[in-house]
Symmetry: C2
Subunit: 199 residues, 2 copies
DNA sequence: TATTCCATGTAATTCGTTACATGATTCT
DNA sequence: AGAATCATGTAACGAATTACATGGAATA
């Protein structure tokens, strides 16, 4: 059975931040790997408790105010656990896209609806693409001496590439829709056949 | 709260197949939209029961053998429910990639490990890419008169585009790793800066 | 005859989101 | 003073996988 990744994300985030609270971990996840990962508070706080119980993390400060930030740092055992987990071959992703699913059943709506969802998706992808590009430049500038630089660049590059591809697809899908509305399946087939031969 | 998509996938699959059993639905999902959706039997069979109870699908045959195939067809109410769901704006996907996550924490393993996961990912993506391309050609040939052709082409095109992007990224990531192993961060930075300026 | 594949289904468990409760601090 | 934000946490619910049970049909 696939072991849940949550605990290890927390370990890694805490390590990257040297010492971190649940809130800070959440922020880091969103900022650095939000493109392909997320965690909710409902999982973070209980998991922190568990990790502390197992000695994989330890409180960073002693003065435990009742509702103050509780920062943790990673322990040697935590580092080992994280390292062991990383080395296990990752499970393949099983992506789920409600957008593509609904498009697949597009005939139950109408072309006008399809145009709307596609344009809005394209705009979102375009925005995400610029954000991803900025993230790349920032990584390059900020972590120039970091031993993790290669890995950071790899994953930010993944964000860039995938977002660009998504945007490209959305534009292509709109072209298909145009062709279809102009001249039905015949025009559509002409479009895709034509581009395939010219490529 | 986001409504679960499972029931509507089943409705759509049953409609596409005219009449279908749980097993056949599973097969269709895997074949046609496996790139971006999946359902397990543990969800399919209970959901079919529910849908039948609500009158959104109905048994296609009368002779109910005890452990034979139970085929269902969609009802008019089912078509309406599906149509209403499709028209609601889709929730944005929140993808999770264990591969990228582990790469992000790559410093807890070593470059040799990274090279392994990247090459294996690249090979898988390449395979998926050819499968996706075949799917595109097949859709084009088989459903030339189908009113859903535009939508089928759109989603198969999505599969093609995304798989190609993933492959491209994996190759790029390997280049980055090469540069890093050759000359550390300096060589790595030179690589990405150089390509950025020439592009 | 044994094994594999087709096929349906249930139960247990885990995972993950959402909603809620609480209170401190900072800004307007 | 009031609103927004920071911050931690719990409870309830729903979604999804996995394991298991069952048995017919085909095949080796």
């Amino acid at each position: 059975m696939r072991e849940a990744a949550t605990r290890y994300v927390l370990l890694g985030a805490i390590d990257a931040l040297k010492a971190a609270s649940g809130y800070e971990i959440k922020q880091l996840i969103q900022l650095a790997i939000g493109n392909f990962w997320n965690e909710s508070f409902g999982q973070i706080y209980p998991a922190l408790k568990d990790l502390a119980g197992e000695g994989l993390i330890a409180a960073a400060d002693e003065d435990i105010g009742p509702r103050e930030q509780r920062r943790f740092k990673i322990t040697e055992a935590g580092r080992e656990a994280l390292s062991a987990w990383v080395r296990k071959t990752p499970y393949p992703d099983r992506p789920r896209s409600e957008l593509l699913l609904k498009l697949f059943f597009g005939k139950f709506a109408d072309p006008k609806w399809a145009r709307e969802v596609l344009t809005s998706a394209r705009d979102q992808y375009a925005k995400a693409q610029t954000v991803a590009a900025m993230g790349f430049d920032q990584t390059l500038a900020e972590d120039a001496a970091d031993p993790s630089l290669v890995y950071y660049l790899m994953v930010t590059e993944a964000g860039r590439t995938i977002q660009a591809a998504r945007r490209q697809w959305a534009e292509r899908a709109l072209e298909m829709l145009d062709a279809f509305e102009r001249g039905g399946n015949a025009a559509l087939i002409a479009l895709v056949k034509n581009d395939a031969s010219s490529a």
